[in-house]
Symmetry: none
Subunit: 261 residues, 2 copies
């Protein structure tokens, strides 16, 4: 799925990602990669089991070196979030705490608004097996949870970071419905051009004695026009269809001409 | 992040996920797991490099056995989508094709609406390194791409499946996509039927020497398939188009027959 454009400037902004006591270097590397994919870059580790730096993390990061190289390590969570102003804790389980639980879209929208107001934000992710402890969640402003299959909820930490990073990126797009690129510009064909195509096609079909029985002519015509109308044909596509009909006609005309010579 | 509740019923519904020539068993397993997390369950593989079943896939699937056990293998893409009615192709790159490009939210909204109308849908994912070929994308109704950091776009296949599966799950929770249920008058044509029409049309065009110059054949074929794919053709409409091509062909065949008598 690689579509990296090295001429583009690397996006580096947004919430800090904080992993609390991560165990596997591979996961840390995958987290760095997921962050880079969606423009995040500040990674902090609280007490990583295998220390830091970590060769396995580098290998799994798939060239997200700018994230790996800038990663900071802390002894405890309070130290890791000391300079932040708004912190969200991710959780997969219901917690018996009086704290709002958001979905990732809502959480990202809040993070984006805070970002635009120069508020320093962060997202907490817990241990691979156990997530965050309640006393850690207590340090966060709100919780976020993912809308997973209740009977199969096995998001790993890199996947959770991927989803939050993706939602962060989406929250920054001017419109909800914007994609990274659009189909090449070709105008949708005008109704006049479409009518010209109908004339061409129907003329060819007339010659070919397609309209039989005569009583069904109107219905057949409407059905056919319907097909090419709901297709939202572009101008270039209409030219292609003209070519198709012309090719099928030409074959016949050539035979006619040969005969008359 | 595990929060699995084994008392809950497993959600199993939604679009088929089709991996075209996947290479690594680990990736297939991670795909199965991502699908299961968000309630998808039908996985199809086109020509997997290391065959099937695959031990590494099982290991990486993290108990998504219901997905792994039901996985089907196909020799080619047309076979893998023959029973589907609406197919979306994922891509990381701009393609020079006249086909709509959606973001994952838009795509999931369409898939959800189709699902509610009992339309059989699928999502195509390409090879780890190269994605989908243009002739494969030509078989899809629309393209979807992910809003990634342009200077660091290295989503792997399991991550791409995760994001689409997540958006699928979200689309079922949002009430945004509610529309009055309306049974279609005629079923949307299956991809297998569409392929039969391509065979018919392309055969006729071959006879008519439409594909000239030879170097443009592939491009001409993809453009033409694209036109009839994004039209959302119904079964009855496909019959109409068969009739059109047959009529234009017949005219020529009749002349041939008269000549040979």
């Amino acid at each position: 799925m690689s579509g990296t454009d090295y001429r583009k400037e690397l996006i580096c902004e947004g919430p800090v990602v904080i992993l609390v006591e991560p165990q596997l270097g591979e996961n840390i590397g995958m987290v760095a990669r997921a962050m880079a994919n969606f423009g995040l870059f500040e990674l902090r580790l609280v007490n990583p089991r295998d220390g830091w730096p970590n060769e396995r993390a580098n290998a799994a990061a798939s060239n997200a070196d700018h994230v790996i190289d800038a990663t900071l390590v802390y002894d405890d969570l309070p130290g890791a979030i000391a300079d932040l102003q708004y912190v969200i804790a991710t959780t997969a389980r219901q917690r018996d705490m009086l704290k709002d639980v958001l979905n990732p879209t809502e959480a990202s929208s809040i993070l984006r608004r805070a970002h635009n107001e120069n508020t320093r934000t962060g997202i907490l992710f817990g241990r691979e097996r156990w997530g965050l402890h309640n006393d850690e969640i207590a340090l966060a402003d709100v919780m976020v949870t993912f809308p997973v299959n209740p009977a199969f909820a096995s998001l790993n930490i890199a996947q959770a970071v991927l989803l939050m990073s993706y939602e962060w990126m989406k929250s920054g797009q001017a419109e909800l419905n914007q994609s990274a690129f659009r189909a090449p510009d070709s105008e949708v064909a005008g109704k006049g051009d479409l009518q010209s195509f109908f004339d061409h096609l129907e003329g060819a079909l007339e010659e070919a004695k397609y309209y039989y029985p005569e009583a069904r002519r109107e219905r057949m015509t409407n059905n056919l026009r319907s097909i090419f109308t709901h297709a939202g044909l572009k101008e270039l596509e209409l030219q292609t269809l003209h070519g198709v009909v012309a090719a099928l006609e030409r074959r016949w005309l050539e035979k006619q001409n040969k005969k008359s010579k």
